[in-house]
Symmetry: C2
Subunit: 398 residues, 2 copies
């Protein structure tokens, strides 16, 4: 390998195009070498087989300058793990999920963000709810989606969705009507208005929040990419509300990922005669989601998990200081030497099992709990890196 | 006390009028002395203060012959705990509830039953589901009620309800349309068609099942009596489905009693915009009911609890022989010497807490579990009296 290393921004822009996400091998390679050296190594082909396997087809395409210009042309920028605005806290969940053996769990190598540069993604998603659901929504579903989004936006929540027709569009619209913040996560480049009928809506979202994608400019939509995008929606939000969903729908997929990442999943019931509510009812019946019927219930459910675990920027804190009372009870119910099942923790802490299941991964990320062969154990905690210090444990700054 | 004792039938007919149900003191007094002697003692005023308190106002009214004639005039008869057709298995739940400190838990001293004498109440309720809900139901609620009742009746379930307008009427109608069996439990005498607009419906119910009341002929409806009636609906059915209910409604009351009696409670979701579904959603949110959206789900939920615990008539059996796999696992998770909480049992048995809570009281009734200060303990089991042998532990035959 010869020649000067590219800048971090150029390196990350290149890395965002070099493999189809999610690409755990690429993320690990970047964590090992840093983005600049990793980019140079990939470009010259000096990579291990696992990395070559996901990068070979695109390693020769070097066009980060052009991509950054294309982004700038639509008011977008590249946000990297090295930036203050990187939502490290949310995306670290992927690392926790990967530790738990989820092979496809990989954080993005960068995010393309269209919107006001003063409004960073970390801040936007700090208090946030994803509202997702069917494209072929009913009038009832669209009404509830807009109504919930409106009420949550008024309470200060950022509404995250996928800009699709149906539930997604109604959610963004409801948040905008309340003068609130909203984030659209796309399965294509941020310079591509998709769906075409939502071009004007996407402009309004960019002006009031952000349009986000891990795909470089010009990337076309694809069925696979919607599923990959869904995992990002689940990760960026504190909790996910499924308003309407058929059985085995994209929204159910987002909800499943949210559960894997330790996020609260909420489902809105509807008429049992409606196929568009069947997915929500199935989740409720299987205990995979909590029922919610109002904005107040969503705020209560989301607010009591996770949100208070967010670390303050610029100030390392003792992790237990930032625990909400419920998370603290879960932490106290764990033992240092013997493992506990979530059921045992639920009993000891007197907290519903579903909430314990949501809290434990958050404690794990905070270094306050550890999952082992015998169950969950308490850890005394460590200082969590603040956002100003950059990335997470496997994504060092360079 | 002088004179010959009345017949059991006359004694029970008198006892059904002598106190406003539920009357635990009266039931205990009858269990102690037998119905004939108890009737004579009450009539002559030779009773302890607790019994006098509930019987004084009516002790002098001796009209069992007239009541039996009034019943016969509308095709009704008196069914007593001494009869084969007494649904002892279901009504014993009140005894279990009373043991657990529920002061108002008292089985009826007799049931007035309008219907085919060849169709006894024990048989009618052996495989049964209560479908209850709001009088001011929506079109959606009435549709679901009729649809569920139709499907459950076709699967052999008797549909039990309260003959009210709205959800109740739709449930009876659905069962009748399927050519199935249905039972109406009234809060007034069986000779009074209430509500008046359902006189024709009540005739059809009596022809296809039974119209049942613990109130003697001529008793008028009263607000208090609907709540007392609701406890009987909950007791007679294996499980209760709430189709539509406002917050703090009669249906919620029936559901609460069903839970107390260890019965499965199921709730049908509906639009979150409908006040008539708010009670169902509240139960789901509080974990007080399981969500159901189809006949198949109701049959599955009801079928797996309780039903298989029913003992065969005419043949004492080892209680554990009749346990379904789930109840057996709950039984096996109990310990003989140390008490367990339902949560511990849920963990050990790997069965959801709600189902454990439903199974434990059934095991208690079957003599296979005992609740004490330290929790639930296993009992090795005893032979359960068959229905042919008559009543339960505190209602001896005379």
């Amino acid at each position: 390998m010869t020649g000067a290393l590219p800048s971090v921004e150029l390196a990350r822009a290149y890395l965002s195009r070099v493999a189809e996400p999610p690409a755990p091998a690429l993320v690990a390679f970047v964590a090992l070498h840093g983005p600049q050296r990793a980019a140079a190594l990939i470009r010259s082909g000096e990579v291990p087989a696992e990395v070559a396997k996901v990068t070979t087809a695109r390693a020769e395409i070097w066009r980060p300058d052009a991509d950054l210009r294309a982004a700038a042309a639509v008011g977008a920028r590249l946000v990297t793990p090295e930036d203050d605005g990187w939502p490290a806290w949310r995306l670290l969940s992927f690392t926790a999920a990967a530790i738990r053996g989820r092979a496809d769990a990989a954080e993005p190598v960068a995010l393309w963000v269209r919107g006001d540069p003063d409004l960073d993604v970390a801040e936007l998603t700090e208090q946030s709810v994803a509202i997702v659901g069917a494209r072929a929504a009913t009038g009832y579903g669209e009404h509830v989606s807009a109504d919930f989004a409106h009420g949550l936006a008024r309470r200060g929540f950022t509404v995250i969705s996928g800009a699709a027709y149906g539930i997604d569009g109604a959610a963004h619209g409801g948040a905008l009507a309340a003068g609130g913040r909203t984030v659209a996560v796309l399965g294509c480049g941020v310079d591509i208005p998709y769906p075409a009928g939502h071009a004007r809506l996407l402009d309004r979202i960019a002006a009031a929040g952000a349009v986000v994608s891990e795909y470089p400019p010009g990337t076309r939509v694809g069925r696979h990419r919607f599923l990959v995008r869904n995992r990002l929606i689940a990760a960026l939000a504190e909790g996910t509300v499924v308003v309407e969903a058929g059985l085995r729908s994209g929204a159910s997929n987002t909800a499943a990922t949210a559960r894997t990442l330790g996020r609260m999943v909420l489902a809105v019931p509807g008429p049992v005669t409606s196929a568009m509510s069947a997915g929500c009812h199935a989740m409720l019946r299987e205990g995979e989601a909590q029922v919610v019927t109002s904005v107040a219930e969503v705020a209560e459910s989301i607010g009591r998990i996770g949100g208070d675990l967010t670390v303050e920027a610029d100030a390392p804190v003792r992790p237990t200081d930032s625990l909400d009372p419920r998370s603290l009870r879960v932490h106290q119910a764990l033992h240092e030497r013997t493992g506990s099942s979530p059921e045992q923790v639920s009993m000891e802490a007197g907290i519903p099992l579903g909430q314990v299941r949501a809290v434990l991964p958050m404690l794990e990320i905070a270094g306050l709990a550890q999952r082992g062969d015998t169950g969950w154990r308490r850890r005394s905690g460590r200082s969590v890196p603040s956002q100003a210090e950059g990335g997470g444990p496997i994504t060092p700054t360079t």
